[in-house]
């Protein structure tokens, strides 16, 4: 019987010819990523279990990217960065991106891609649920807790239950105003926040393969919001072009077999997709943006691993150029590279950074920032009962910092159009004119 990409990658990393959904297997790990929120706990468990002087299994395979609570006065948060530094020093780890240096990157999931750690065919674990993002490169990637990460640090292995695969195929062409964020919000709305629990979400079809790497990352990033174990897209030339600009390391491209078995298969007509929002307080609370135009907003937030990439800001800038926002609008690039690009990339001779400044938006430093609320002094953190439209990934109660606030998840186009009108706005007219 045929296998899916996910099954083939897991089999290869377990030293087996084939695996079946439900099998419990031990896999060899290619990359382990951790950050400032989960690194300290992971290192403490590693030392407790393997000894104070134990060494990590492979220095070259450990990547540490502080990104969550960075620009804050919180003493505990800053202490946690010191713990990362200490561990990196003790272990002499080469892949560390320290706060306050030229080497600082920002949000780990995009930094992994930009620094060449996302490579087709590999297995990557990270102490963050949005580690599923890396699946856009045709690799297996998923989030784990501190204990599992400590186990990998000591052994280079971890047990995995092989997931069943679900196939989401999009054929044709997406309308110009529809972004990957609309597509994933639509699918989560269809299957629910537990619709892919313990399963792999595989994205296929000519419409998906026409997307850039950044848009593909958005699709895989939110697999976890449907409960998915991983999201995955077969690697093609778009993938290898991106990877080759970032790393010389070898990779291996896997394809799903024609007769691979899927637990679920659905084909969508890409041209019928619309701009979607997730209403409070769940990512599966789907509505068309056009149905929510009566929702008045207090602020717009454009940032995070989901909606803070260059593509996201190009989209927002296209709408904000030459116009003024009516509500507080926060712009938070995911990484330093994205921030630098905001200064370089232009629309009709004006840089994105100038477009945002002239529109009246506030600009923040690259980090996770208010996507998950964070310490009280976090840039863009929601207050009181504010109504927020956001390009981030979750709108659970209190997620952006205030239990009384209402968060609507949306694409960068929808967030930018709404920032200009002060209420939720279908961006179609702005984009097409």
């Amino acid at each position: 019987m045929g296998m899916t990409i996910t099954e083939k990658i897991l089999a290869a990393h377990a030293g087996k010819d084939s695996v079946f959904p439900g099998d419990n297997i031990w896999v060899d790990v290619d990359v382990l990523m951790t950050h400032d929120v989960c690194g300290p706990g992971t290192f403490a468990i590693f030392k407790k279990q393997f000894g104070e002087n134990a060494k990590v299994w492979d220095r070259d395979k450990v990547v540490i990217i502080p990104d969550h609570f960075i620009f804050t006065e919180d003493t505990h948060a800053n202490r946690n960065i010191d713990i990362l530094r200490q561990f990196v020093k003790e272990q002499d780890l080469p892949h560390y991106y320290d706060v306050g240096t030229d080497n600082y990157k920002g949000v780990c999931h995009l930094a992994l891609a930009q620094e060449g750690f996302n490579r087709p065919g590999e297995v990557l674990f990270g102490t963050d649920s949005h580690t599923s993002t890396s699946g856009a490169f045709g690799m297996f990637s998923t989030g784990i807790g501190n204990t599992d990460a400590a186990f990998i640090l000591g052994t280079g292995k971890i047990w995995v239950k092989v997931p069943e695969s679900m196939c989401f195929e999009f054929t044709g062409k997406f309308p110009d105003h529809v972004m990957a964020k609309d597509v994933i919000l639509n699918v989560i709305g269809d299957i629910g926040v537990d619709g892919a629990t313990y399963r792999s979400m595989e994205w296929r079809g000519d419409a998906v393969m026409s997307l850039s790497m950044e848009e593909r990352m958005t699709l895989c990033n939110m697999a976890i919001e449907a409960g998915g174990k991983n999201g995955i897209i077969e690697a093609d030339e778009v993938t290898t072009d991106y990877v080759r600009q970032r790393t010389d390391r070898p990779y291996k491209i896997y394809h799903s077999d024609e007769d691979a078995k899927y637990f679920f298969k659905k084909t969508y007509n890409a041209s019928e997709m619309e701009s979607i929002v997730a209403k409070p307080h769940s990512p599966d609370n789907k509505a068309k943006a056009s149905e929510c135009e009566d929702v008045k907003l207090d602020r717009a937030y454009i940032g995070s691993c989901t909606g803070g990439k260059l593509t996201d800001f190009m989209a927002a800038a296209k709408l904000l150029k030459g116009r003024k926002v009516l509500i507080d609008t926060f712009i938070v690039p995911a990484t330093r590279e994205v921030e630098e690009d905001l200064h370089k990339e232009k629309i009709d001779g004006e840089t994105l950074i100038d477009i945002f400044k002239n529109a009246g938006a506030y600009l923040g430093d690259p980090s996770c920032a208010a996507c998950l609320g964070g310490p009280k002094d976090t840039f863009g953190r929601a207050k009181d009962n504010q109504v927020v439209i956001s390009t981030t990934n979750r709108n659970f109660p209190g997620r952006m910092g205030s239990k009384q606030s209402h968060v609507y998840l949306a694409s960068p186009y929808t967030a930018a159009a709404s920032a200009l009108t002060g209420h939720i706005t279908n961006p179609a007219d702005f984009v097409n004119n």
Partner: protein, 188 residues
């Protein structure tokens, strides 16, 4: 492994996510420092909206004031318990507050895995929607050999689903002890 777990119930609804279990602003404390980690018990479940906290009445605090331990040690949940982030602080804060078992209709994958691999408490599943049967404060007893949950307050007993393949890790204590028992890593 204990064969009997007894305690008072604290009842929650569907889709209790990790931001409700432990809001992100608190994720700054050490999980290994014995004093500092008490903060996690103090803030456990403080993100749950009031009307959902301690069903059916709601607005029941899980921990009182500055206490880091709760009088409730068995959590009853609905579908998709623990969805959201991979933060292990979520099962950890519940254990620090004194939780010994969770009984839910279903779990989000990473939370379930963290609970088992970290050995924080036992995540049971029950096909009956206990959220509508059990009231916060009910006196419960879980019998691991019979695989049942008894509500001593209401004189009712429910079958629990088998723990299945994770029983070996639960019995060993955590993923490290399991790996030592099976010879995957050297005994300490």
């Amino acid at each position: 492994m204990k064969k009997i777990i007894e305690g008072l119930a604290y009842v929650l609804g569907n889709d209790v996510d990790t931001d409700q279990i432990i809001p992100a602003e608190h994720l700054v404390y050490s999980l290994s420092d014995p004093e500092e980690k008490k903060n996690y018990g103090k803030f456990a479940l403080t993100g749950v909206p009031g009307e959902q906290a301690g069903l059916p009445e709601g607005n029941v605090s899980f921990t009182e004031g500055d206490n880091f331990e709760s009088k409730y040690s068995i959590i009853i949940g609905g579908k998709n318990f623990g969805c959201g982030s991979s933060r292990e602080h979520a099962p950890a804060c519940m254990e620090i507050a004194g939780v010994r078992a969770v009984v839910a209709q279903s779990y989000a994958r990473i939370f379930y895995r963290n609970s088992v691999d970290g050995g924080f408490f036992i995540p049971f599943e029950c096909e009956t929607r206990l959220v509508e049967e059990i009231k916060t404060g009910d006196d419960l007893k879980i019998d691991l050999e019979a695989n049942t949950l008894s509500n001593k307050t209401q004189n009712k007993t429910y079958d629990l689903k088998s723990l299945g393949e994770v029983i070996d890790i639960i019995e060993a204590g955590n993923i490290f002890e399991y790996a030592r028992k099976t010879g995957m890593i050297a005994s300490s």
